[in-house]
Amino acid sequence: MSTFYFDHELKSAPGQYVMLWIPGIDQKPFSIADDDGASFGLTIFRRGALTEKLFEMGVGGRVGISGSYGLGFSINENTRYILVAGGYGAAPLAFLATKVLARKNNSVDFLIGARSADQLLYEEKLANISNLNLRVATDDGSRGTRGFVTEILENICKEIRASGEKKEILIATCGPEMMEKKVLDIANAYNLPCEISLERFMKCGVGVCGQCAVDPLGICVCQTGPVLKKEIVNRITEFGKYHRDKCGRKIFFNPH
């Protein structure tokens, strides 16, 4: 995993994505991990032909970028953000954390989970964001609390309910879909606002090819998402059940 920086004014918002193209190989969507106005960063895993090639390229290498595309997370004020990250979802949520902490009277609880300490991504980068309340969970307890990151979320929600906290809350999540499903269930149970970044196979990015249309709404998440509010995701019956591959065939998720 590496974060690649590009000197390009993108003017993007956390949760949006770009299409990264290496001619002759492929073009794929990548979530934006950083954007200071003058340059932006993409945190990328080495996985498949496109990313292999990218990792071989050095400083000064040229790729095609289009975007930014889609709708990102809400950036509010006077809000307690509770961000729940799994895997690569930490990158866009760290970008979100930086943006919201620059706004008036916000706080951020950043919850991140992994199987074990050595699989924990982005921890160092998160530690460098000041005023971030970082909470870590690992399945084996090798870092932070033992258990799932969603258990930390549930405890925080319980505390909020018990204390009668009046501050606006916004839960935002990005990560493996089964984790996101759990986050949604908790947000529903505690009646708290929640925004979810949904990953579906995308080709065009502009609502034309229909590859990323979700059941039963038929909306293209490339354009109406990828970040969707709880109320919409609650109506997407395929969420947490299946997605579609590049042929359009249904692929079912394995239960956690």
Binding site: V208, C209, G210, Q211, A213, P216, G218, R244, R249
Partner: protein, 302 residues
């Protein structure tokens, strides 16, 4: 005002979602109806699932759109499940699109659709982006169009339309051949073959290098094809290609189209492009004192 009877089936309006745009799933097809389509055409189905070409597969420019998706689809079996699902959730007419590499392949797929809830079948024998895979494109050969149509006719009772290519110099002749061989309708046209080169990269933008051009640039080409075909055949025409406004749609009908395919317009005018187009049609019809589409169908030939 816009109601159209096409081969005995009633459409609330003549705008049909063109094949290849959205329409991969039942839900996506239904959404196109909710967004204003009178009917829909599914993505082209093949015998086996296909992943299509790698990206970039689509690029949108101000006046044209170019794509080389490579006919990605989940295959006929899963495709039929989506058609069934569509029929459960939506009552607007649906055209199932199919493509194959041989006349036998087309006939076999059509046969498989016999019990599916599709109202019509469309034979996509004119995709410009898979030529290398399937050898000579059928859409330029009178003999190939004849053979595919004849074989398919023998194996299905469902009404079907043959989709032709604007690249064919003899498109009216091809339409005639399809009609004589038993086709119930003609869909005109598919995208026109094209290319786009990135000057900084000094290379074609589409992974497939060549692609099919749609959007506003295709409209006058498609309109002329429909006009020519209308003079050559008696069977109805689905006029498709670059229609983005109500004015375009009415021009297609004046050229002789019964239904009007709309696809790329969603890029230019948003997901509810269909509704915008039908509203504009009604407005112009009101201004011009036109009561029904039948009044103006083919009127440009007078």
């Amino acid at each position: 005002m816009l109601r159209t009877n096409f081969l005995g089936v009633d459409f609330d309006n003549p705008i049909v979602l063109a094949s290849g745009i959205l329409g991969l799933t039942a839900a996506s097809l239904k959404k196109a109806v909710d967004d204003g389509c009178g009917g829909v055409t599914g993505k082209s189905l093949s015998a086996e699932p296909r992943p299509g070409h790698p990206n970039p597969t689509m690029v949108g420019m101000e006046n044209y759109f170019i794509n080389a998706v490579g006919l990605s689809n989940p295959g006929i079996e899963e495709g039929i499940l989506e058609l069934k699902k569509y029929r459960e959730i939506c009552s607007a007419p649906i055209i199932a699109s199919i493509f194959a590499g041989s006349s036998e392949g087309f006939a076999t797929l059509a046969e498989k659709l016999e019990d599916s809830p599709s109202d019509f079948i469309e034979l996509n024998l004119s995709c410009p982006n898979v030529n290398l895979e399937f050898g000579k494109p059928f859409a330029y050969s009178v003999e190939a169009v004849e053979e595919i149509t004849k074989k398919t006719r023998a194996r299905t009772k469902k009404p079907f339309s043959v989709k032709l290519s604007p690249n064919a110099w003899n498109i009216a002749e091809l339409a005639k051949a399809a009609e004589a061989a038993g086709a119930d309708a003609i869909t005109a046209v598919n995208t026109v073959s094209g290319m786009m080169i990135d000057v900084r990269l000094r290379a074609p933008v589409l992974h497939n290098k060549q692609g099919g051009v749609s959007g506003p640039a295709l409209f006058p080409i498609a309109l002329k094809c429909v006009y020519d075909i209308y003079e050559a055949v008696k069977i109805p025409i689905i006029g498709t290609g670059g229609v983005t406004s109500g004015e375009d749609a009415l021009a297609m009908i004046m050229a002789g189209a019964s239904l009007v395919g709309v696809g790329t317009a969603v890029y230019y005018r948003g997901a509810d492009a269909f509704k915008k187009i039908t509203e504009e049609m009604e407005q112009i019809m009101n201004e011009e004192g036109i009561n029904t589409l039948a009044e103006i169908r083919g009127t440009a030939h007078a």
